[in-house]
Symmetry: C2
Subunit: 296 residues, 2 copies
């Protein structure tokens, strides 16, 4: 039997290979060499590849052919990378570093970073449309849920709420939950849903996959808030205390560390309950545990 | 019989209505009100709506149901608008005005303009995937050609070549043609191709539609180059002589005005030859004439 760690490493391996395949520099696009390099620079910066692992994990748990998950798994990582590149821009969060490396605009200039992000926002739809394992119906369903999760009512909408909250001093729990749901939850939920679509799951099961994803996303974000005040810069690999410095409303400022941890546990328990309705959920359970016990 | 002008006005009218329908502000996305407003601000800024007219024009010429063209026509205008918003950003062309109005980042701030452009880069794929008139096969084909026309080997790739050319003093005719083909040609060609897909045209006919589009795009761009030196700021509605000021290589700097005009005529004649192979091409012929005899 394959262990959790082996399975996770396998999914991450498939993802790395697919990302490389989908964004190759060829003789035909010699003139766009630097653009492709900038895209790959950020794609290769690593990260935990959680979202692709969820696509593969749900596809396999629901009895799907893993080959079908290849394009959606790479697609969600491209979208995540596009959002990080644009988030780091001077006009946005103005971050010079990302995962210990200079951010895309620091390495390639601001104009190239904007364009690299733009290119990574459309490539996902191309690779899904051109995939040879998915049916036309599966492709259309995946593109529909993915575009919604990214767009004005999804991740991008969440970034707008986050940005506008910086100017407000009346951010309450409802606002914060909605912001997290859009900004982080949507991409995580759609990863689970896309895995389910690859496996031909029913709409009922897709709904459960989404509910699980939203809860995982929320718990993930609450733990982020907690680590920002309880961790050290060495452990976290990025500056701690930045939320307080930026005067951000978080689960910690609203509830305190102790109650925030309780809420994270409650939300995690709800996520696990969703998994009760998924057949072979042992990998997904271990992934959930791992993400919520993380120290960075 | 409906005149050319009536037909064009009809197509533009459908496009305006569809754009409004697809990007409504509702009670559910109250929190994203400003984002949707910024998107609509730029979508409503007008422009000639040439690309949607080509989608409708090809769909109708090839005997398709115009209702099928609705989503792709709105989609291509959203993509065009997204590219204008990001092009105008300080890190890119740094333009404070667009079509006589403050550009998106001047009206809504730089961060919101980046996000409004981002949202307009993914909404097109959502509305095509969710359309109720197109078949799943048509949707997949449209999304595939559209994403390619926009991405690293299409419009965005062309913007990178354009940007990098600014640093070079050895831009030759091949480079310039390739840049125009990517930056302008791809979106125009894919408009024609999408219209053909809506009408269920054969791959042979889609190829002809693309060839026509690339030639129209090139002729359009050469005329842009000519107008930049022969027009007045009043006629053009934007500053003339900007190419020379920015030391850009254009068809005029490479060939002079007279020869550039000859090349535009040759390319236009080739475009018209492509239309010989399209059945009911009278609207498309008049549109071609109109675009190439334009003074702005």
């Amino acid at each position: 039997m394959i262990s959790f760690k082996e399975k996770l490493a396998g999914y991450i391996g498939y993802t790395e290979k697919a990302l490389e395949k989908y964004n190759q520099h060829t003789a035909e696009n010699e003139a766009q060499k630097n653009l492709i390099e900038a895209m790959n620079y950020s794609l290769e910066a690593g990260g935990k590849r959680i979202r692709p692992a969820l696509v593969y994990g749900f596809c396999e748990a629901l009895g799907g052919d893993l080959r079908k998950a290849e394009a959606p798994a790479a697609a969600i990582e491209m979208i995540h990378t596009f959002s990080l590149i644009h988030d780091d821009l001077p006009a946005m969060d103005d971050d010079d570093y990302r995962r210990g490396k200079p951010s895309c605009h620091k390495a390639y200039g601001e104009a190239m970073a904007i364009l690299a992000g733009d290119a990574l926002s459309v490539l996902p739809f191309e690779i899904i449309a051109d995939d040879t394992a998915l049916t036309a119906e599966q492709k259309v369903k995946i593109i529909s849920v993915l575009a919604k999760a990214v767009g004005k009512d999804g991740m991008i909408g969440g970034q707008v709420i986050d940005m506008e909250n910086e100017e407000r001093d009346d951010v309450d729990a409802d606002n914060l939950r909605n912001m997290y749901r859009c900004k982080t939850g949507q991409l995580i939920a759609v990863s689970c849903v896309m895995g389910g679509i690859c496996a031909g799951a029913s709409d009922l099961v897709l709904g459960i996959a989404a509910e699980y994803g939203f809860r995982l996303g929320l718990a993930f974000q609450i733990i982020d808030d907690i680590l920002d005040v309880t961790s050290t810069t060495e452990e976290l690999g990025k500056p701690v205390g930045s939320d307080e410095e930026e005067n951000k409303t978080t689960f910690v400022t609203l509830y305190g560390v102790e109650r925030a941890r309780e809420i994270a546990d409650e939300v995690t328990a709800e996520a696990m309950e969703c998994l009760d309705k998924i057949e072979n959920s042992s990998f997904l359970r271990e992934l959930t545990e791992m993400l919520l016990r993380r120290k960075k």
